[in-house]
């Protein structure tokens, strides 16, 4: 059998490292103690540009970007001394000459315990998110103003579309119905993307942790593999190789999940989506938060089931439900989440909830150990901007966007008030047997 030599192992480590940096959905750059580039990804150039250089390896950051201000240099200095700093909404001019809003974090990395090798800088372009957030806030206050200042009652003008309330006649007087539809669709896609980015931002640190763990496993087993090779112990070498491949698979799954999650879905045609895999990927993305708050997750799937639609959007619904559940139970003594996938034949799925013509539904229920939603709030939870979370913790868009996604898939998303705990039930038309 063939085993890796130490230089080969270093080369593999370096390739994994480079691949992780390259495929991160955030802009990222790794520096040594002199702020010379060790690695960076394309997203970094897009956010931090302009520069004529494609590859910055070995270059001094301040020579490449002489515009880096004194304050930024101080941040780097403090982080090289062990601090970790984060910033919200700093502005840069990007490679295209546009001003972009950037959320960033600078953290030191350690060559060995207590010995800082340099810093890692993460940056995320939140321009679009910030613009959408501001627009939504403006729109909301405009609507509130219309109501508040109106000398006559406006109730008669309200229309409901897809369970959202609009001031129908006022809008339709000014705009053709077709343009209104296109506007709504555009807003919907923007809102979906911006709420996804907000979610990713909240989960970024946890995701780094989830990647570091398999990297640690790969490193240790590569070492054990060398040991085994020296001693000619094929059984141990095989065990190490298997562990390495498992860990690579685990890291790849996280990166794949992220790539999928951050992609815009509008150009993808609908496809058959394996529900087990969908649940699995959503749980992997939430794993760090689940572990952080010591929440036990159980997933029960009766059998392989498929639905038709956009896996990115459906994944977002599940991630949103899981994140809500974590928030709901994290301060409780008993913290668990139970995800149950059932086919339409199962006893737990009520008759007549099928979305498609004659198709039996697939039911996905997400139940947590929380005491349930207070009856006086149940009517509000699917409304846009309704949130009980603190400022900066929730957009108040999760459930309303989730419901609109599910309904466009011909399904339903409901809160089950009869369950002893907090339980949301998602039904989708089933494809195949």
């Amino acid at each position: 059998m063939s085993v890796m030599t130490s230089p080969q192992r270093k080369a593999v480590d370096a390739r994994i490292f480079a691949e992780v940096v390259r495929t991160l959905p955030l802009a990222a750059a790794v520096f040594d103690r002199d702020m010379r580039y060790l690695a960076h990804n394309d997203a970094w150039l897009a956010v931090r540009g302009p520069t004529p250089l494609r590859d910055l390896a070995g270059q001094l950051h301040y020579e490449v970007f002489p515009d880096a201000g004194l304050e930024l240099r101080r941040v780097h200095g403090r982080c090289l001394a062990g601090a970790e700093e984060r910033g919200n909404l700093d502005r840069f001019v990007n490679a295209d000459g546009n001003e972009v809003c950037v959320r960033w974090a600078v953290v030191p990395w350690y060559e060995s315990p207590g010995h800082i090798g340099g810093v890692i800088v993460y940056a995320e372009d939140v321009t679009e998110e910030e613009r959408t957030r501001r627009q939504l806030a403006e729109r909301e206050s405009l609507i509130r103003d219309l109501f508040d200042r109106s000398p006559i009652g406006l109730n008669g003008f309200l229309v409901e579309r897809e369970r959202q309330t609009y001031i129908g006649p006022l809008i339709e007087d000014l705009t053709s119905p077709r343009a209104l539809e296109a506007d709504l669709e555009n807003e919907r896609l923007k809102a979906i993307q911006s709420s996804k980015l907000a979610t990713i931002g909240e989960m970024a640190a946890g995701i780094a942790h989830e990647l570091n763990t398999p990297l640690g496993i790969i490193e240790a087993y590569a070492f054990a593999l060398e040991d085994a090779r020296r001693r000619g112990d094929d059984a141990k070498a095989d065990e190490a190789l298997k562990a390495i491949r498992d860990a690579v698979g685990r890291a790849a799954k996280i990166v794949r999940g992220l790539r999928k999650f951050t992609r815009q879905s509008k150009d993808d045609p609908p496809e058959d989506v394996d529900v087990g895999r969908l649940v699995d990927e959503a749980v992997s993305l939430c794993n760090a938060r689940l572990r952080d708050h010591a929440v036990t997750v159980t997933v029960e799937i009766a059998r392989a089931l498929a639905v038709r639609g956009h896996s990115v959007e459906l994944g977002q619904v599940l991630v949103n439900l899981l994140n809500n559940a974590v928030d709901a139970v994290r301060s409780l003594d008993h913290r668990w989440i139970r995800v149950v996938v059932d086919d339409g034949d199962g006893v737990s799925s009520p008759a007549g909830t099928s979305g498609g013509e004659g198709a039996l539904p697939v039911t996905i229920s997400v139940e947590d150990s929380g005491p349930g939603i207070p009856p006086e709030l149940v009517g509000d939870i699917f409304r846009a901007f309704f949130t009980t979370k603190g400022v900066g913790e929730g957009t108040g868009l999760g459930l309303s966007i989730s419901r609109s996604i599910v309904e466009r898939h011909g399904g339903t998303l409901t809160y089950d008030a009869t369950a002893p705990h907090t339980k949301f039930v998602l039904t989708l038309p089933r494809v195949g047997p």
């Binding site: 970790e84 640190a205 496993i217 087993y221 070492f223 001693r231 562990a243």
Partner: protein, 117 residues
């Protein structure tokens, strides 16, 4: 017979690989994937050095440190970006940030098992 090295991590595969690596060097090692079991062991048995994951389901690495009832070199192991901050906690000898080199762990074990330079 020297006192054992203890490695606590809810990642079973990491416990297993350090059993392989230290075992191959004749270093006695006891591992736990359950932090409460580790605490039970540590309150009843003298050990040489403890490596303990920071983020575990039942107890954190710092909980294990607080409850283990003996004063021995204690290293926190973590994949968190901000774990280095724990190096200043009383009783924490050092922090090993995942992914770390197996050589680094072996060097620390060697240092604490054999105090002669």
């Amino acid at each position: 017979m020297s006192l054992p090295v203890v490695y606590v991590d809810d990642e079973r595969s990491l416990c297993r690989v350090f059993e392989m690596i230290l075992g191959a060097r004749g270093v006695p090692i006891v591992t736990f994937t359950d932090a409460t079991e580790a605490v039970a062991y540590l309150t009843a048995n003298a050990v040489a050095i403890v490596f303990c994951d920071y983020r575990m389901p039942k107890l954190s690495g710092l909980d294990v440190l607080a409850q283990m009832g003996q004063s021995v070199p204690f290293y926190l192991v973590s994949g968190d970006l901000d774990a280095a901050g724990c190096a200043n906690v009383a009783g924490v000898t050092g922090v090993l940030a995942k992914p770390f080199r197996a050589e680094a762990l072996i060097a620390l074990v060697a240092e604490h098992l054999d105090p002669t330079p």
